[in-house]
Amino acid sequence: MAFDYDKWIRPGKLPHIWCPGCGHGIVMKGLIRAFETLQLKKENTALVSGIGCASRLPGYIDCCTLHTAHGRAAAFATGVKMAKPEMDVILVGGDGDGTAIGGNHFIHACRRNINMTYIIINNYIYGMTGGQFSPCTPTGHKASTTPYGNPDPGFDIAKLAIGAGATFVARGTAYHANQIDKLIVEAIQHKGFSVVEILDDCPTTYGRRNKYKSVIEMMNRLKEVAVPVKAAEKMSAEQLEGKVLTGILYKEVKPDYTSEYAKVIERAQAAK
């Protein structure tokens, strides 16, 4: 039986703004499957984003949606979650939005271990503004503002999240579509701050500048570089050169922020 995506799509809001060949729609479908698997209640689900191509995603989903300012999704979402801890709060955005202008909010949301899920769609570029390099653009690659090759080293978003204190970190790709919803399901079920990085392509502003001849070639690259964490255990350092680990990369149980704040309230009221 075909999956009924329409249940979660807002009537009249499609077509989306994404270019032909962009993988954001694949991620959105994965997100919808995850919401449906978990039987989330639309009225009790907040989907929060910043600015950029990926941040337009909430507009298409039928729940409480908050399209904030550039980089600020995590801080707005923290306010929603603090005021209504019983809500499921999910963030979505791109690599530039989340790790450059929003980097501070991102690491501190990780540190607080606030019970929210952040889906970062990493296409290595600022797509909406026409292809400027992001903190995730690989060294040497071309963007509209690195015409001679990018001199900057890139972020490893997963390592950044783990280092900052996130208690669930996973990575998937737009090629491995069937895995996306499973990772998001586990992330939402995890109590604490969970980060799911989904590697994606941007044929329009990244692919064409970096000699990718087609969307298929870009998708195949995602297929080739991805190595499941289990498989990686049996591989040598040489074999892992240039590869990217996928699956659940990190998981630990730690007190989450809103539960800890509930204890603050208890202590304050006991002392009153």
Binding site: H67, A69, T78, G79, K84
Partner: protein
């Protein structure tokens, strides 16, 4: 029963006023000279089941307040000049997305780090022009600790009533001085709540103006689901670039304040009936001005004080009316001329406007004002 009285600092009174108004969320970032507000809220909010969060930066503090307000909280942030500059983009977000909240900004010397412990009144223009784009602006400038308490309550009421961020901007002197505060009984001062939707969730539009310029606001997590964006939007909350819709929405947002100036603009008229010279002052400077006016009267000079309590919207009508009757205005302020520009705009050349501008971190004293009063012929 006698009323509860306390000897409080302006910032402490601000926190108490917020609690009276039903504030149940505070998001902030430490900054001199406003930090006491955060400290009091961190103690008091959890006692009533409210939430306090110290964010990673000033921008995050503004964002968390807006997010909490959308989820139904009555939210406050406190800051000072440099923090206000950082918050400005999201204050604009609050204006266009129409999210009630109160921004308490203590004015210290600037620009940049300036004089963190020195008084100033140089943020008043930032309240209206700080964020980009056209937007409504409400800014209250209290002159005493008691008034800070009351004006914070009024700020919450105005933000809920008009569904927009509201500033309270005491100068550092008002924020840090200690005075007697008489607390009102519960119910003595009216506390307003935002208009909630009466339609079913399916029929709800977050910017539905069928009942007036202020659309009812549902809370996330209350059974209503809707979209909020910083893009220009239609009544259903979704982005639009349709020229006529954008024009109408922008005009409505500004009209929420412009059409209600008589409700929002509060001021005090002191000895104005026969005044030849009118001192226009706000904040702690108005206290020196009152002193100077009293001395001038003793010396036979017909001086008066127009004390601004609501800085934005500016009391245009009142200043215009005075301009036709007086020989001159004196505008003392701890900046290089901000309020004086507004007074000049309203005086329309009918009366001279003499400024007394100090940015050295020292208060303007009555002697300076008295000397200037005597310059008006």
């Amino acid at each position: 029963m006698s009323k509860k009285v306390a000897f409080l600092q302006g910032n402490e009174a601000a926190a108490q006023g917020a609690l009276y108004a039903g504030c149940n969320f505070f998001g902030g970032y430490p900054i001199t000279p406003s930090t006491e507000v955060a400290e009091v809220m961190s103690i008091e909010l959890p006692k009533i089941g409210g939430k306090f969060i110290q964010m990673e930066d000033e921008i995050g503090a503004m964002a968390v307040v807006l997010g909490a307000s959308l989820a139904g909280a009555k939210a406050l942030t406190s800051t000072s000049g440099p923090g206000l500059s950082l918050k400005q983009e999201l204050i604009g977000y609050g204006c266009i997305a129409e999210i009630p909240c109160v921004v308490y900004n203590v004015m210290r010397g600037g620009p940049s780090t300036g004089m963190p412990t020195g008084p100033s009144q140089s943020d008043v223009m930032s309240a209206k022009w700080g964020t980009h784009g056209d937007h409504p602006a409400i800014c209250l400038t209290p002159a005493s600790v008691q008034e800070t308490y009351e004006e914070v309550i009024r700020a919450f009421n105005l933000s809920e009533k008009y569904r927009t961020p509201v500033f309270v901007m005491p100068d550092e002197i008002v924020a840090h001085m200690r005075e007697r505060v008489v607390f009102p009984e519960k119910g003595e001062i009216e506390v307003l709540e935002r208009i909630s939707p009466t339609v079913t969730p399916d029929a709800y539009k977050p910017y539905d103006t069928s009942c007036g310029d202020v659309p009812p606001l549902a809370a996330f997590g209350s059974g209503y689901k809707f979209h909020v964006t910083g893009l220009n939007k239609a009544q259903d909350g979704f982005p639009t670039t349709k020229a006529e819709l954008v024009q109408a929405e922008e005009e409505r947002q500004v009209r929420k304040v412009d059409a209600n100036v008589d409700d929002i603009v509060h001021f005090e008229e002191y000895l104005l009936d026969d005044a030849d010279v009118v001192v226009v002052a706000y904040g702690s400077t108005s206290r020196s001005a009152r002193f100077a006016v009293n001395i001038a009267r003793e010396q036979g000079i017909k001086a008066g004080l127009f004390r601004i309590k609501t800085f934005w919207p500016f009391p245009d009508k009142q200043i215009k009316a005075l301009a036709g009757k007086v020989k001159g205005f004196i505008v003392p302020e701890m900046n290089l001329g901000m309020c004086s520009l507004e007074v000049e705009r309203n005086a329309q050349g009918k009366a001279p406007v003499l400024g007394i501008f100090r940015v050295d971190g020292e208060p303007i004293n009555p002697d300076q004002i008295l000397a200037k009063i005597k310059e008006v012929k």
